[in-house]
């Protein structure tokens, strides 16, 4: 799939979301082209996580439209299921199932949702564990793995459902510094294979080298979006400059 | 099949008469049992192996058997021994009331000892060390630091234990006594209206339970006044 065919696979149109009295998203619009990698950054509480959690309906948006691969997200359970089959998600806290081994974590959804046999599921799971470079940890429980290994298992678990789109919600924020690289490397490989990705992260090195588009959010709005070269060299908004100044200092 | 409210109104006063005995059993067993429990706990933490072991076995046996069986062993069982029938104790032990008090007290002691032990274990070790650093002696540390905190930590479970005991007192209706349940059973035997009468009795118990919970709530506030912000 050519990276700049221009065909949007995700469309957010004036999406709003509030929790009680707090407005987390104030009319967010974003088009993601098939095969593109979008990095979303911004201060905490800016609505980044809420936005991507709306895309697979972990949160329900209150207003506007969300269309994923031609399917509009409505209250229809059928649509939600269809979208969730297309969209994989990786969480900050990994959320591996602690009572299942690494390979069992990968096998669960293919068996239950796609109804494939145990044997096929195991073969599939091993294939993806190899892709994230930890087939030898297959029979360990999450508690026996390092944070970096756990997050790679979590990525593999999502890939097993063969999604078209992968969402990453601060995938390296809960990791010790020495483990961040192994996770980013896996994500970089995935990017090269043409996966559509939305990544909420503060890893600006990753954004520079991998992203097609960098989005900066603040206070529930998209303040600025641009290709990385432009975004880092000539940020237009003061808020973006302030934010970049803060995190690039380190 | 129908539920006759009139029957409830008629029988409630009689059932409430049985409440006196229920409360007597509850309060007496609780006082004796709690005193025994304090002794048991002191044995458990004494550091003397024989005492610790004895207290452990006692607790294990009384928590591991039904209270009904404990009551029957004392009420029906002790009469098997001539020595007991001939002793001065027989004055008490032939009375179902004192048998019940004895059985319930021994039972409550075992459970309460475990609750208190849990409370003592819940006291932060650092406080102990602080007490030692200040030069307090062992018994002073226990009386002024460990005990007050342990009591606060034990209160919720102790409240549940009181409610358990209240419910357990209903067993005396099986050894010819007329507590709330005993009275209710005699009325049912006459009217054969089990729903109305037993539900009335249950309501009386629920009121008592509610009172106990209120009391424990107040005590928790009293002992925990330094915890609240």
């Amino acid at each position: 799939m050519p990276a700049d065919s221009g065909e949007p696979i995700i469309v957010l149109d004036q999406v709003t979301k509030s929790f009680g009295g707090f407005q987390a998203l104030k009319g967010v619009s974003l088009n993601v082209v098939r095969g593109h990698k979008v990095v979303v950054c911004g201060p905490s509480g800016s609505g980044k996580s809420t936005m991507i959690r709306c895309i697979n309906r972990l949160e329900e948006h209150n207003g506007g439209r969300i269309v994923v691969d031609g399917i509009e997200l409505t209250a229809s359970i059928k649509n939600i299921d269809a979208v969730r089959r297309e969209v994989g998600m990786v969480f900050q806290q990994f959320n591996l199932f602690p009572h299942l081994t690494a390979v069992e974590n990968l096998m669960l959804a293919p068996r239950l949702v796609r109804k494939i046999s145990k044997k096929e599921a195991r073969a599939l799971a091993m294939q993806y564990l190899e892709r994230v470079h930890i087939p030898e940890q297959a029979d360990k429980y999450p508690a026996q793995l390092s944070g970096g290994q756990q997050q790679r298992v979590a990525i593999a678990r999502s890939l097993c459902m063969k999604p078209q789109i992968m969402l990453f919600d601060e995938p390296t924020s809960a990791l010790d510094p020495e483990m961040i690289k192994e996770v980013l490397d896996v994500m970089g490989e995935l990017a090269q294979e043409g996966m559509t990705m939305i990544v909420v992260t503060h890893e600006m090195g990753f954004a520079r080298s991998v992203a097609d588009l960098v989005v900066f959010m603040d206070k529930g709005e998209i303040v600025e979006q641009a290709p990385p070269a432009e975004f880092f060299a000539r940020p237009r908004s003061d808020r973006t400059r302030a934010f970049l100044g803060q995190i690039l200092k380190h | 099949m129908s539920f006759e409210l009139a029957l409830v109104w008629e029988s409630l006063p009689k059932i409430v008469e049985g409440m006196g005995l229920t409360i007597e059993l509850l309060v007496l067993s609780l006082v004796v049992g709690t005193a025994l429990a304090v002794g048991l706990v002191l044995m458990r933490i004494s550091g003397i192996a024989v005492l610790e072991w004895t207290a452990f076995v006692y607790t294990y046996i009384f928590r591991g058997t039904p209270m009904l069986v404990q009551l029957f062993i004392i009420y029906h069982g002790l009469a098997q021994f001539e020595a007991i029938r001939d002793s001065f104790l027989w004055v008490f032990l032939r009375e179902p009331f004192w048998c019940a008090i004895l059985a319930f007290s021994l039972n409550v002691a075992a459970y309460t000892a475990e609750i208190l032990r849990g409370g003592i274990q819940g006291v932060d070790r650092g406080l102990h060390e602080a007490g030692r650093a200040l030069g307090l002696k062992t018994h002073q540390r226990f009386l002024y630091i460990t005990a007050p905190i342990a009591i606060r930590l034990s209160l919720p479970a102790y409240g549940n234990e009181i409610i358990s005991l209240l419910k357990g007192t209903a067993l005396v209706s099986l050894i010819t006594m007329y507590d709330i349940t005993g009275v209710a059973r005699t009325i049912v035997a006459k009217t054969f209206a089990p729903y109305e009468i037993f539900v009335s009795a249950a309501i009386v118990y629920l009121c008592l339970t509610w009172l106990i919970q209120r009391g424990i709530g107040l005590a928790e506030r009293r002992f925990g006044r330094y915890v609240r912000r």
């Binding site: 081994t101 | 058997t65 002790l78 089990p194």
Partner: protein
């Protein structure tokens, strides 16, 4: 002790009855516990209210009274219904075994609802989100993700519930179930050795409770195996 030997068979059969009641009641207890816990965690105020009332009432009513209400109450109701169909009917009741098993499952189930509720709350929210993101249905999420994790948390308290269940079986002689207290009662009238006979009952219960305690300890090790850091 010679007298005990003669009654050993009867005690053995009685112990078997205790076990049967225990296992039947155990299953019902888990069912009431899970239904009650789900109700307490549901969005419906009515479901929460019913579940809370269930716990409050059963926790405050003596076990003996619950047993009497379930057995005699159901008998009056069933007899009433039967008389509508056939006026010549005298007495219809649930067999004491079933009435007794149900009654003690109601009692302990009330405590189990609280235990299970706490255990479900103890399972991290992210687990449910991850399952949903992978496309699992709510039912699949319940059975494959939440249930296997909550039972580990519920186990210690549930061990106590099992001990309550086995000890509550001692009440069933009151409605004529031929368990070990019933056997001891009969043996006493024949031999006039009440202490000996009830002591046997106590020893049998102590044995059952010890087995439960041991089993729960083994299960806890098994349930927590995935938490051991094997490095």
């Amino acid at each position: 002790m010679g007298v005990v030997v003669e009654w050993l068979d009867a005690f053995l059969w009685g112990a078997l009855v205790v076990l049967r009641v225990f296992f039947v009641a155990l299953i019902f207890t888990v069912v009431w516990g899970l239904i009650g816990a789900s109700a307490k965690l549901s969005d419906s105020a009515i479901a929460r209210g019913i579940a809370n009332a269930y716990t409050t009432v059963l926790r405050g009513t003596p076990e003996l009274l619950v047993l009497l209400i379930v057995y005699f109450g159901s008998a009056v109701t069933l007899t009433g219904i039967a008389k509508l169909v056939d006026p010549s009917v005298k007495f219809v009741h649930i067999p004491p075994f079933w009435a007794g098993s149900l009654a003690i499952s109601f009692i302990v189930g009330a405590y189990a609802t609280e235990t299970f509720r706490g255990a479900f709350l103890g399972v991290d929210r992210g687990q449910v989100e991850a399952a949903r993101a992978l496309g699992l249905t709510p039912a699949q999420t319940f059975f494959y993700v939440r249930l296997p994790q909550m039972w580990r948390l519920a186990l210690p308290a549930f061990g106590n519930h099992m001990n309550s269940l086995i000890k509550d079986t001692a009440l069933l002689s009151v409605i004529g179930v031929e368990e070990i207290v019933y056997v001891a009662d009969r043996a006493t009238t024949m031999t006039n050795k009440p202490f000996t006979m009830y002591l046997v009952v106590a020893i049998i219960y102590l044995g059952f409770v010890s087995v439960i305690i041991k089993t729960v300890a083994v299960l806890e090790v098994y349930a927590n195996r995935h938490l051991d850091r094997a490095r």
